[in-house]
């Protein structure tokens, strides 16, 4: 057993609970809010060789533990850029990469750290409302600034070959009539060049995690049913996700990359005797 490095973790957590409106009477309207936010900064300070990056294992001094180190996609080579594209052994309609060291060729030195799986901050807000015998709560969670690699967009899954052999994701691909910078030109004769570069996505999201509505029957009514208390409620889990990956790229819930999240509806009774 050997220690092969050290890391540093710094962060803040903040939570705030407020009673926004206090009920003036037993049946009055009340509103309370819980808010929490946390932000973590993580960085590698030393590795087995000292302050030297371990590129093979994607560990870089001063960076978080999990980073994506890849060519950076700037866009798509457009009509009129034939000569420039050819200089980089590419062609119009193919992914245009950042020539980081500016030496006129694309090679391993042009890779950059694209992002990290670690979000800048995460948090949640719960709002609770009560009025008479009704109670309502809503939980919203959010996550900002992380990156993830989408399995849907990896050509190995045959969902993003842009070659016509397999059913493809419905993406905004380049054609001479559609000079987009999103995705390259489909090509029957092979997968697009540098297809890895368009598999990374912003993992930020805002999600309505839970909505719940309840009603407590009066004790009198409960007693008639030989119960101490009687409550009915309805709740829904994960009804809405707002994320660039979902909105712009037909993606699934970025909180659990790789599969769609389930929307769960619950109807319930709470009876205690």
């Amino acid at each position: 057993m050997q220690n092969v490095g050290s890391t540093e973790n710094k962060g803040i957590e903040f939570s705030l609970s407020t009673q926004n409106i206090l009920a003036k009477s037993k049946d009055g309207f009340s509103w309370s809010t819980d808010l929490n936010i946390s932000a973590t900064k993580e960085r590698i300070t030393e590795l087995s060789q000292g302050k030297i990056d371990n590129v093979a294992d994607l560990q870089f001094i001063g960076q978080p533990l999990t980073v994506y180190y890849e060519y950076k996609k700037l866009g798509i080579w457009q009509t009129g850029q034939e000569a420039e594209a050819a200089k980089y052994s590419s062609a119009v309609g193919q992914v245009r990469l950042q020539d980081t060291d500016g030496n006129g060729i694309i090679n391993a030195n042009d890779r950059v750290i694209l992002g990290t799986q670690l979000p800048d901050y995460t948090g949640g807000v719960t709002n609770r409302f009560t009025f008479k015998r009704f109670s309502f709560s809503a939980l919203v969670i959010f996550n900002q600034g992380n990156m993830f690699q989408s399995q849907l967009y990896t050509s190995g899954n045959n969902t993003m070959t842009l070659a016509g052999r397999y059913n493809n994701l419905n993406v905004n691909y380049w054609t001479p009539q559609n000079p987009t910078n999103d995705f390259p030109r489909p090509n029957y004769n092979g997968t697009p060049l540098f297809s890895n570069t368009f598999t990374y996505f912003d993992g930020s999201f805002v999600k309505i995690k839970n909505l719940s509505l309840g009603y407590d029957f009066s004790e009198v009514l409960a007693k008639k049913m030989a119960a101490k208390s009687f409550r009915v409620y309805a709740s829904v889990q994960d009804p809405f996700t707002f994320a660039p990956y979902v909105k712009d790229y037909n993606g699934t819930d970025p909180e659990i990359p790789g599969r769609p999240s389930l929307i769960t509806y619950t109807l319930g009774l709470n009876i205690s005797f």
């Binding site: 087995s48 060789q49 030297i52 590129v55 093979a56 980089y88 052994s89 590419s90 694309i106 090679n107 391993a108 030195n109 052999r165 004769n189 092979g190 997968t191 060049l193 540098f194 297809s195 890895n196």
Partner: protein
């Protein structure tokens, strides 16, 4: 009645008491490092050293890195086309390249451990130990030979790796060949001529390997001495042992006991035993095209599961063979399929009823007119109509003994060295030494064997004569064509073209997909980026090959 019950009970009693009461478990979750230094462990280790050959020969990676992107095969519809198109996707991060790199070094390290530890292992017969070391050195030479042909200067190590190492360097190509030749010299001096364990490497196999190594090294600087050595070794394999060319070319690849025949010098072992077959020899999948979606056809064991990976170039399928006298084209490609799903189908613009066994598909190597095609009661694909989903299929790897037509693991041995190639090595080495007259008998013997069998003995004899060529016809282009005709699909082509420096020339001529992009620098594969990234100093201490 009672008595019967009683005796029955007694019987059961006896049966139970015969069982041992205690269960002795010998659970081993892990083999310790020390095991390799025991006689048993050493022998098991040698077996393991062979196994990495199966990570290449028999899987798609082996075909991708040998037949694709050549004048022999181009991409079928299911292929990873990067190996044919020579675009920048065939770069340092290409998966197959890091796989062959890593697996070869795992194989090399296993051999190094065996070779280093052997002197200190007691309790094993000295001759046997020597034989096993010779096997390990042969295998190490094969892993290095693969690497040096693909990547050029590679990291050279002859000691077992213990613990993490972060330094590596690209040893000169000459040093890599020096080690390969030392290893094969040792193997030739110490291996027996036969083995009662079929599949182990024997002396003639090491001679064939060394002949190929000299031939390849000779190509780098046109070295006359190397060509001479290659020719001598090849002649030794041809003359000094019991190998002979089989009378019928097809029999070389006949399945069953046929894979072990007088022409096979060394083959990678596969078997129908699921426990030992690993991933199996999957080559049967890759050369078949989608016959099973044509009218009157469905997938079956005899025709194979069509992965549509490798499609013969038009040059290979239609031009390189002389179909009048040469029987090998018909014995290499399946051009006719017979109906295995009877019914009535729309074929050539009309309804045709196909019975079981009727011709359903025909892919002639020549053009036919629209009127000729329309007159046929089956689907016709002349050269102008073949596509990357429908093309003549290479038959030599088919494996109809699998349990089900969809089974991927195959059982056949992968034939790596066979006498047919030894003849071609001898001929090429002699030709390149400026001795075409000496090369000629090897070519003509091989070509006479390949002659088409005629209806009469006279016709056969005429075909054999027609197959003969003259010394004046011999040149490196002829040798390359002959290698294509004889060794079609046998994982040789990319290396043949690189050795003879004909890769760019021939791909431009005969491979439409590869022609626009192929350049001189493609005669070496890119060093896997994973290796460069893992080396202290990165690209400055482990530089990438030029062009990538």
């Amino acid at each position: 009645m009672k008595k019967i019950y009683l005796s029955l009970l007694l019987l059961i009693g006896i049966a139970f008491s015969a069982c041992k009461k205690e269960l002795i478990e010998d659970a081993r979750s892990q083999v310790t490092d020390n095991y390799l230094s025991t006689p048993d462990g050493f022998q098991t280790g040698v077996n393991a050293a062979y196994s990495y050959m199966r990570e290449f020969y028999g899987l798609e990676i082996g075909s991708n890195l040998s037949v694709q992107g050549t004048d022999e095969y181009t991409a079928g519809s299911g292929a990873d086309r990067d190996f044919t198109t020579y675009t920048s996707n065939l770069g340092p991060t290409k998966g197959n390249l890091s796989t062959v790199w890593t697996n070869s070094y795992i194989g090399i390290n296993t051999c190094n451990a065996l070779i280093n530890r052997a002197p200190d292992i007691d309790g094993i017969d000295a001759t046997l130990k020597n034989t096993r070391v010779a096997e390990a050195r042969f295998l190490r030479s094969q892993y290095y030979f693969l690497l040096v042909q693909m990547f050029g200067a590679v990291h050279l190590t002859t000691t077992e790796t213990k613990g993490a190492v972060t330094t590596a360097a690209r040893a000169p190509v000459a040093d890599v060949y020096k080690l390969i030749i030392e290893d094969l010299d040792f193997a030739i001096a110490n291996l027996p001529v036969t083995s009662n364990n079929y599949g182990r490497v024997i002396k003639p196999a090491a001679e064939h390997a060394l002949a190929k190594v000299y031939l390849t090294r000779a190509g780098i600087a046109n070295d006359a001495a190397d060509y001479t050595k290659a020719a001598e070794l090849a002649k030794s394999v041809i003359n000094n042992y019991t190998y002979r060319l089989l009378d019928n070319f097809s029999d070389v690849f006949a399945q069953g006991t046929g894979e072990r025949n007088n022409e096979v010098i060394f083959s990678i072992q596969y078997s129908s035993n699921v426990l030992t077959n690993g991933m199996g020899n999957k080559t049967h999948l890759y050369f078949q095209s989608a016959y099973d979606v044509q009218p009157g056809m469905q997938r079956d064991l005899a025709n194979g599961r069509p992965f549509s990976r490798f499609r013969p170039t038009p040059y290979n399928a239609n031009l390189v063979y002389n179909n009048v006298a040469d029987g090998r084209s018909d014995k290499t490609f399946k051009r006719v399929y017979f109906c295995n799903r009877p019914g009535t189908y729309a074929i050539n613009g009309r309804q045709v009823t196909l019975k079981l066994g009727d011709t359903a598909i025909y892919m002639p190597p020549f053009e036919m007119t629209a009127a000729q095609i329309a007159a046929k009661n089956y689907s016709v694909f002349p050269p102008s109509r073949v596509s990357d989903t429908m093309y003549p299929a290479l038959t030599k790897f088919l494996d109809p003994t699998r349990r089900d037509s969809n089974d991927e693991p195959g059982y056949r041995d992968f034939i790596l060295f066979r006498l047919g190639e030894t003849y071609l090595i001898a001929a090429e080495a002699l030709l390149m030494s400026g001795k075409p007259a000496e090369a000629l008998p090897f070519i003509n013997t091989l070509r006479r064997r390949a002659a088409k069998t005629g209806a009469t003995a006279t016709e056969t004899a005429a075909n054999k004569t027609a197959m003969e060529v003259t010394a004046a016809q011999l040149n490196i282009d002829f040798i390359l064509d002959e290698r294509m005709r004889e060794l079609n699909g046998e994982h040789q082509r990319w290396y043949d073209l690189v050795r003879t420096k004909q890769l760019v020339n021939r791909v431009k001529l005969y491979n439409v997909l590869g022609a626009p992009n192929v350049k001189d620098f493609h005669m070496l594969r890119p060093i896997p980026q994973t290796q460069i990234d893992a080396t202290d100093g990165g690209n400055s201490s482990f530089p990438q090959n030029p062009g990538y």
